[in-house]
């Protein structure tokens, strides 16, 4: 018998606030995120300033970089109480998707060693330079001793981390996994996108509406607590949603937005629908991966049109929190769970015969939400179902 995988908790922080209530409030009111430029010239949608010590002890903060603190803080604030209710909290796994992880720390560590000399830098910061540092610090802080994994697959990192968590539970290796994504703004990332001509100067991001071709980067954390339905019911958990379908593939092209083919995204959407055992018309709406880079946005609309022969509603959540790279789809997944809980969609547009209607609508009676991620690294799709 197959195991149902359900979502029993979410946590998030982004430019749209530092908890899921603020996040839903901004998204459901269609508030656009605002890019801010810092003294180094980096422009992006930032997580608001946080007093980390509110939820983390001094021990938790010592020698931990900002990227890690964000995940720790988010989990401590919104999901730790739920983790403690699990039958065996220490056996809860952690699966994190990220494109860059602690890139700021890695770069900074080496930069400092060149400026100050390798014998002058703090050895305790070396632990922050490996990609699995954020997850490992969280495992230590929360005492989680089973699955500890970091997954890097570019824009699809978070969905692949969620798919990994789903497979882990379905495979009988565990009964609960924290899965999602995290990304931190960094100058290296900003410069990479800027020199590739992928950024716009605007303070707002408006996929499908703007004449501008480019995106605004952002940062954030999005985490789901995944459990087997059996485990969740046994402990009387409130079930928020079910993960019913997933698909992941690579497009065969390793370069940024140079592949016109819709084949990859079509196949992940079809795989997810097949696994969910539903027809395309049962999808209430799609949270797209659109980020303002027109090549990708148009490719996705074309791919959706190929899978959804008639009409379907779409929304581009990145207009709220920016292009958070490896974390974006995790934020979309949290938004989808909250949408199912509130039984209302984000403001969405109808896609019909390959064209988007101009007017925005809020839909009711939400049953299934599809979430797409694509870009530098491949394609991935998951489908969440109302409970």
């Amino acid at each position: 018998m197959s195991t149902d995988i359900v979502v029993t908790g979410v946590s998030t922080m982004s430019a749209c606030g530092t908890n899921s209530a603020e996040f839903w409030s901004k998204l459901s009111n269609d508030e656009l995120g605002i890019a801010q430029r810092n003294e180094s010239g980096l422009s992006g949608m930032r997580i608001p300033e946080i007093n980390y010590s509110k939820y983390l002890t001094q021990k938790g903060l010592q020698f931990v970089d900002r990227c890690t603190k964000n995940i720790m803080w988010s989990l401590a604030q919104e999901l730790e109480p739920e983790i403690r209710k699990l039958a065996q909290p220490h056996q809860c796994g952690l699966s994190l998707g990220t494109a860059f992880g602690s890139l700021n720390s890695t770069y900074g560590y080496f930069y400092d060693s060149r400026v100050k000399g390798p014998d002058k830098i703090n050895p305790m910061n070396f632990g922050n330079t490996v990609f699995n540092s954020p997850v490992s610090h969280c495992n230590i802080l929360f005492g989680l001793s089973s699955l500890s994994i970091t997954i890097c697959s570019g824009f699809t990192s978070a969905l692949n981390a969620i798919i990994y968590g789903v497979d882990y539970i379905k495979g009988g290796k565990g009964t609960a996994v924290l899965a999602g994504g995290s990304e931190e703004l960094s100058m290296q990332w900003f410069n990479g996108f800027r020199t590739s001509g992928l950024l716009i100067e605007d303070s707002h991001l408006a996929p499908y509406h703007s004449e501008n071709d480019g995106t605004i980067i952002g940062e954030g954390v999005g985490m789901l607590l995944l459990e087997s339905r059996q485990e969740a019911l046994a402990r009387g958990a409130h079930i928020l949603a079910q993960v019913v379908g997933a698909g992941s593939c690579f497009n065969g092209s390793n370069f940024l937005y140079t592949d016109n083919s819709t084949a990859g995204l079509v196949s992940t959407m079809q795989d997810a629908l097949k696994q969910a055992e539903i027809a395309p018309q049962e999808i209430s709406y799609i949270m797209t991966g659109a980020n303002g880079i027109q090549h990708g946005d148009q490719m996705e609309l074309q791919a959706i049109s190929e899978v959804f022969a008639n009409e379907v509603f779409v929304t581009a959540p990145k207009k709220h929190f920016g292009e958070c790279y490896g974390a974006s789809a995790a934020l979309s997944a949290v938004a989808a769970v909250l949408s199912l809980q509130n039984n209302t969609s984000l403001y969405s547009q109808r896609l019909h015969e390959g064209r988007l209607d101009c007017d925005l609508r809020m839909l009711k009676d939400i049953e299934y939400i599809m979430i797409n991620a694509y870009g530098y690294g491949g394609y991935a799709t998951i489908i969440l179902k109302k409970q």
Binding site: Y109, S113, D119, F126, G127, V130, S136, I140, D167, S248
Partner: protein
Amino acid sequence: MQKHRVVITGLGVVSPAGTEPETFFSNLISGKDFTGPVTLFDPSPYTTNRGGQVRDFDPKKYLNDSEIKRRGRGSLFSLAASRMALAQAGIGDRIADGTRTAVVFGTTMGEAQVLEQTAIIAVRGEIPPSANYPMYPCHVLATNVATALNCTGPAMVIPTACAAGNYAIGYGYDLICNSRVDMALVGGSDPLSELAFTGFSRLRSLTSEVVRPFDKNRKGILIGEGAGVLLLESESSALRRGAEILAEVRGYGLGCDAFDMTTPHPHGEGAFIAATAALKNSGVAPEEIGYISAHGTGTKANDKTETYMLKRLLGEHAYFTPVSSIKSIIGHTMGAASALEAVACVMSLCKKIIPPTINYQEKDPECDLDYVPNIARQVPDLDIALSDAFAFGGNDCVLILSTYR
């Protein structure tokens, strides 16, 4: 749903002990030390000038000019080793229909050399070349392979530091077991990193002499580089193709110390959880294990903890099971280490001979197992091998391989 058996039909190696699996393995068996002076950067500020540097690798032998262009050293390693694995499996240069082929790689720092080069340029006050930026995200280690070899199934990197190769093999195993794909190129890759030299030097983990795992006078690690790749395949796919099956992946297990970022749990808690899960997942009894490919870094803490964990796992059988560490021969190749160790295990299962732990001189009372000191050993009845790997953050993964029947 019936799970597929997962077999190994191809191997690829880029290592300090040679390129190509046969060269690599015969050099391991020779018991020579393949660490030596590092020339890729100036090692003079550090505790040692020695490391496991790859010296005989010519990317042009495996890759064309466009594949070499704008690729970091880690990607060149992973792509060349993948091509070797495909060739051994009788598939050729590219997979004709790669829709059901995954690529999963492990690494510690990805293309760290590119990041280091960028920082060095920035320290000089110059503007780093824009071509460096697309090489930062570590997933390129997998997607460069997927692009070149036409693999369009799932492609990702699992950067769980020094255990990453085993994690990648484990996920490839799962993807095939669960019918997501028919084949998976899995393994690990890490180029020699000055950042790693800096960090381990500051942690006082680098030895100033040779690597002596499990020896009483062991002083620490030497950093290495390389890539190890295995082509995993469902049994039915391999049989349908008439491929030669080298060995079988029986299962794996994960565990986490949840203890400290850089120091292993004194009782190897995460490692024990991972090893116990691996035995359960593979359906193998402790007394069936015929060889243990150790993590065996040569640090005081690791080797003592690992010995403790193995005795806890296997009981009395631990004393009758040969344990060896090829890190004594090639250094610690970081995210590639467990993948190269898995390749060595497959070769051991095929040839019934296990590589030694070299530089072993004096027994440590706290490390009292059979470490196959200095000379390779014939084990005619070798059937099942366990390969353990432990990483920063206490991220541990244990793999179990066997001969195919």
